[in-house]
Amino acid sequence: MFITPTSTVRPNRPQFLKPSLDSSNSHNRAMASLKDPAQMASSSSGLTFKLHPLVIVNISDHHTRVKSQSQPPSADSSSSTSTSPSSRVFGCVIGVQRGRTVEIFNSFELLYDPSTHSLDRPFLEKKQELYKKVFPNFYILGWYSTGADAEESDMLIHKALMDINESPVYVLLNPLINHAQKDLPVTIFESEMHVIDGIPQLIFVRSSYTIETVEAERISVDHVAHLKPSDGGSAATQCEIPPENSLLRQVSSLLRRLPAIESEKFQDDFLMEYNDTLLISYLAMFTDCSSTMNDLVDKINIAYDRHSRRGGRTAFI
């Protein structure tokens, strides 16, 4: 399944849930707080998070790829949803931190080693170096994963990253498509030291974020998001007709140019404007024709001079 991000550019997701650190059941709550989203503490660090849609697309793409690769390709759709548990994918997010604003621009994938419960460190460092060359401003801001909610083991990863960035962020994408939920299934967690039961513990707290995008990014993400595995592609895999890409492109551009509204008032205005354009081009052709004709007549008059008497008639073509 491919998750298409909603087209809202700036969803504001206030996650300001009241922290209820009641001392009586604080222990339970501490354990439950990681699992129960309704009682998650809110971030108080005051940092503003800005997330670029590229990150969301990257994460969902990673997830989809892994998921489709883990299943045998000949499995039909009925078995795919039930049997295999969705495996989590992991990666790093990078971006810029300016003052109180943290802007997450990009992300890349990382392998998760289940035995050590840590991410592949050497690979991360190598990737970091490469990215540094291209984007010298970007730092590793944190990491991402997929899942429904933050888990305890995530804290280990989180702590491991703390030597790169003293306060990493954790971006969580929920790959389950919930049609009732209108917002993006993306949450950003920060780690905070909270005193629970007298023990300072690091827990995840949710933070609000906004989606930030530049125009070019919006166009490309929109474009990518609208790509769907079409049935034409499946016909191609079955080797019926080789898909003519240029033809398909022309067809799609033609379809996009067709008017999208079907009301009578629109018809009227549309036809009138169309007629106007046609008339203008007609007028342009007319003018062009008249000018050519004028030149031609001048030339004929010069060439076949009437003032001199000529025997017989001149050839007239």
Partner: protein, 312 residues
Amino acid sequence: MTLNAPMRAVGPLLTAICKIQPSPEHLTPLHPDFLQVCLSAKCYKIGYSILEDDIYKVDQPRDFFLYCYYGGMICIGQKRFAKALELFHNVVTAPMSSMNAIAVEAYKKYILVSLIHLRQFSSTFPKYTSSVAQRNLKNFSQPYIELANSYSTGNISELQAFVQANQEKFENGNNLGLVKQVVSSMYKRNIQRLTQTYLTLSLQDIANTAQINSPKEAEMHVLEMIEDGEIYATINQKDGMVRFLEDPEQYKTCEMIEHIDSSIQRIMKLSKKLTTMDESMSCDPLYLSKVGRERQRFDFDDFDNVPQKFNL
């Protein structure tokens, strides 16, 4: 033709033309004969069908003159005055090196058809008319030009008096029928001028201004014009008021789009033909020699498109 049964010649001539023509754009010597036969037989419709093809190549200029002249007469018979005007115009403006009786007759008819159809006549020749025509045509058709002048005053009784006076001249030119049509078109002309001044007018006033005898006749004329599409008006029969309207064409319909589209296609073809003609004309040695000769009068950097060797 010797059998005095022109009807029988129409069919075979038509097939002959279709076979001889290298393409529908060519004019063959058979064309004017065919049209003449059609005129005598009064088979205007068949003659008209030949006229619909545009002509681009002519072998003999005389054929062209005759073709256009007879073609114009056939169009008058069919009451298609626009096409008749076009054909007569072609005769008048065709290149000719000496005065031509066909052109003279054509010019007379041209004046009359112009008065009937356009309700006006301009005596200036377009610049592609041959100078021979420009100088001499007017001399031969004096009464017609005076007719046009008195037509433009708008006074019907004057016009009728003039026609009476010169009746035999018009008869000699076999144009009396056309002249009578000119007189009757005078009413329409006057009514049309009224649309430009008034928004509403009573039938009585129309009758008075246009010098029509009675409001009933005025109503009849107005009705005819509305049916022909020459004016847009509504007649209120209760109080005898006529209301002049604007052209209701909104240019919103698909038929209009198709119409404009086909016109654009036609003009594209025409444009291509014109450009090829223009180019072939530029390479014509006669033209180049003339241009080269005149070159000395101009500055050096006026036009450089003639090579030196054409400088005679």
